[in-house]
Symmetry: C2
Subunit: 138 residues, 2 copies
DNA sequence: ATTATTTTGCAACAATGTTGCATTTATGTA
DNA sequence: TACATAAATGCAACATTGTTGCAAAATAAT
């Protein structure tokens, strides 16, 4: 078991359960983003669909993971670099979605460029979604 | 009826039908983005749900409208500035989604900043999704 | 005006997400 | 460790969203 699992759950005052351990482990191992369907498949019917929904919801609320914007209507989740406190307004991200294989990368080390908006618009968060071909699919 | 409707449909070799005229008119009038649900409500059960889905699909394929990425799982559509030929790889956009009222703006005049990606990633499109408070909700 | 093509509406289905509640599991305390 | 309390899970049922096939209707072409 990944060393950060218990730590993360405890820090966020979450009961330590099988589903939470397993799902958190998935995120920690494969660094890319995961959709609900991915988790459902990989866990092999070990957990109820509802449990997975609720676990993801909880993780988002606690700031352990965040959702990634996408143009198709599939919600994907990725680990927050360091758990964002309160789960609100976490750091800005650059995400990369591969057109070929569909893998979504969370590029934490890429700087989010500043955007100059028209007067009257207050910015709370900037998400940059880049699509194209990823490293593996060249 | 908006003068650009017939023009746009003809240019894209689409049959001129009531649903297409009405839906295109919605996009031309209210310049913000529209979700499927918005269209369904505004058209007041005039058209079948399936027809709306298919119309939006067709418009996207023809490059008349494009989808806007969002972190929740609601797909929104907005007019392309000038119909993008082939519907693929239209110009990059900055989109603004208001946390208060949910209105999505397509900020065509804001320049998309260039993003420096790691070596090996080929970029085909950059979407910038800014969220915060809009002009009206201050 | 008539034929050929396209689009629509309906029905049925599939996928995705939500809610309430009883049962099970985890936590805190003696 | 055993017990009481609190929390999470699984099930069932439901709601929403999106898809597909096909006959009927509308549009376009001749």
């Amino acid at each position: 078991m990944h060393p950060r699992i218990l730590d993360t759950l405890k820090r966020n005052q979450l009961s330590i359960t099988d589903s939470r351990k397993k799902i958190l482990e998935m995120f920690l191992q494969r660094k890319g983003a995961l959709a609900h369907a991915d988790i459902e498949q990989q866990s092999g019917e070990e957990f109820d669909r509802v449990t997975i929904y609720r676990t993801l919801q909880t993780f988002v609320e606690k700031g352990i993971i965040h959702t990634i914007p996408s143009a198709d209507n599939s919600v994907r989740y990725a680990l927050c670099k360091d758990d964002c406190s309160e789960g609100h307004h976490h750091d800005n991200h650059v995400h990369f979605m591969c057109d070929q294989c569909g893998t979504t990368y969370c590029l934490d080390h890429v700087t989010v460029p500043s955007v100059a908006l028209p007067v009257g618009f207050l910015v709370s968060q900037v998400d940059v979604v880049v699509s194209g071909t990823c490293l593996k699919c060249q």
